[in-house]
């Protein structure tokens, strides 16, 4: 049993989606996360355990390697895909309530801004940390954040902005969230923003990179 989980952890860490996939070369021909999750469920392993003891630790290792510059984004994306293949099979257990995520994270690039590469990376890493993600995309105003919060009460919100003329929109969105959904935790990021700006607009935390964002999310989840 433990062995299966270890294998699954390894498959996700190295981005092995299924048996057919040629990547990574050292695992060629072996089972990927798709088959291993199936076997784990068949062996009667608790789905929550699959998530907590294989998938999340695998992505934590990936995140650590990435933040230490030991792997590039494409490798991280392969791991995210392998995790996705596993999650697909765990989905019924999320719906039935047998598995609980740490919570929901709603993320978007603010109104007027289209830069989304950084936002996508942050979303991916937080998902790997065991959160459900609602990605609202780019050019998102306060209305859509509030709407999403209403559908996912208690969710944490992440705002991204890359332009000096759109970061001010973060302020408006924070004010509006505070008014309509008080108590919401709001995380911000993007090249022009910093901790000082975060405090000024009344957001909760500024993270310069995905790793710091995940650390903060883990802290508030515990």
């Amino acid at each position: 049993m433990e062995e299966l989980l270890e294998k699954l952890l390894e498959a996700v860490e190295f981005g092995k989606v299924d048996q057919k996939s040629p990547y990574p070369p050292q695992l060629r021909g072996m089972d990927g996360s798709h088959e291993l999750t199936m076997s784990a469920l068949e062996a009667g392993i608790n789905p929550q355990k699959i998530l907590e003891e294989a998938l999340i630790p695998a992505m934590a290792r990936v995140g650590k390697k990435f933040s230490e510059n030991k792997i590039f984004v494409p490798q991280m994306l392969m791991s995210a895909r392998a995790m996705g293949a596993s999650m697909l099979q765990l989905k019924p257990f999320f719906t039935s309530g047998d598995i609980k995520t740490k919570g929901t994270f709603i993320i978007g690039t603010v109104k007027g801004d289209l830069h989304d590469i950084g936002k996508n990376l942050v979303a991916m890493m937080i998902e790997g940390g065991g959160w459900s993600i609602v990605d609202l995309g780019v050019d998102v105003g306060s209305g859509r954040f509030i709407e999403a919060l209403k559908s996912h009460p208690g969710a944490v919100v992440g705002l991204s902005a890359l332009l000096t003329t759109t970061m001010v929109n973060m302020g408006e969105i924070v004010t509006s969230i505070r008014e309509h959904m008080p108590g919401t935790k709001i995380l911000i990021g993007g090249a022009p923003v910093n901790t000082e700006f975060c405090q000024k607009i009344g957001a909760d935390f500024y993270a310069p990179d995905p790793q710091k964002a995940v650390e903060y999310m883990n802290k508030i989840a515990s």
């Binding site: 494409p74 994306l77 007027g112 590469i117 000096t164 003329t165 759109t166």
Partner: protein, 458 residues
Amino acid sequence: MKYKNLIITDPEGLIFGIAPNPVKTRRGLEIGGGQVYAELNFTLPIMSICDSTLPEVYRHYREIAEGALEHALHLESKGVVLEFETLLEMTKTPTIGIEITRIMNEVCENYYQKHGLKSEIRLTPNDLREFERPAKQRTSQYLEPMMELFEKGAMAGGDLLSIESTGGKEVSDDALMNCDIKTIVFALAVLGARDMQFLWKKIVDVANKHGKIAAGDSACGFANTAMVLAEKKYIPKIFAALVRVISVVRSIVAMEEGAIGPDKDCAYEGPFLKAITGIPISMEGKTAACAHLSPIGNIASACCDLWSNESVQNIKLLSGMAPTAYMEQLEYDARLMNEALRAGKLHRDVLQQLLVASDVYTDPQALILSPENVIRISRELVKGDSYVANAKNGALMALDIIEEALASGKMKLSEMETSYLPFLREDLESIPDNESDFVEMMLPLIDQSKFTMEEYGL
């Protein structure tokens, strides 16, 4: 394929300040005509752009232009280009962009009349079509305000027309993160090139109608993005170098449609365009560090005709306003290059050698920009019968050059980097030369919900 041969065939001919086809402007700049001018890029500080802040927005741009030109005058500048990259609101509501152009042109004209200081404005509307996904490159409602800004902005004094157009970007964004070189070729050599044909016909028409200059289009969203990601160690530098080479086949379409330069700087594909078409180019390097870091600080200037920076906010530094400070840095770099040009071939060649040698083996992205390598790669970029073939051949030559530098021990790269070499080569070699064969090969591999074929005439 309009260009089958290079205009500059010898690396020695690829030098700063001199372009085979210089561009003369209304107030007398001769770009590529024997000297290097500064091109200043600037932006607003933290603020929103709305009705109530418009007077403040206009004040900022007037202050930037006046501060920059006053200091250029003080430094006995031979001429300046002001690079106005519009922000969303200024293109969506073209009257804002037009008014800012008018204000800055008034400042330029004033310095010209009173002091004889020559300056021009490069007007770069941002490509609004990005706001729709999947992009409607040809039928977007946003084309109208964008083209209005081009036309009326040109009439208001935006004499050099440029854009960083985004055709194919909806496909390339993911490809960059996945280091998927085949999809990058698809995005740039198929979608990008096709969109450039569509868009640049229109821009050239506007320029011709009003006696303005269709300058050029830089693949910022592709090659600059790749460089910034590589600089953050998110993707391999080798990959970013290849993206730059591939972007040439897309950016050259502006020239095929009638653009004459100076090409725009952001994606650093200018040296190849200069070698192939003879147009003058703008480049940015160490001076762009206000907006993003780069591994090509010195080598980028080796054959520039305009020497530029990247968006610097109008904020106060201890010396003065930041755009004025950057004006000074650009001016001193230009002065040095101009002094070398004045002193003769020996001096200018030595200066160029130093600019090249100080960067060339530190990063594959620098390596491909040495004049010698630019010529080697450019030959490959024009030898095929399709953009796809040219992209593939150029990228393969860049890979050869990178591998040679590694084999000789002159350039060192981590194992993490070099492990990508065989995959990249294999992928590139699998690309057929013919566009329709390539499209057929790629369509099943690409998420087709991301783009609309008809919007690219496919």
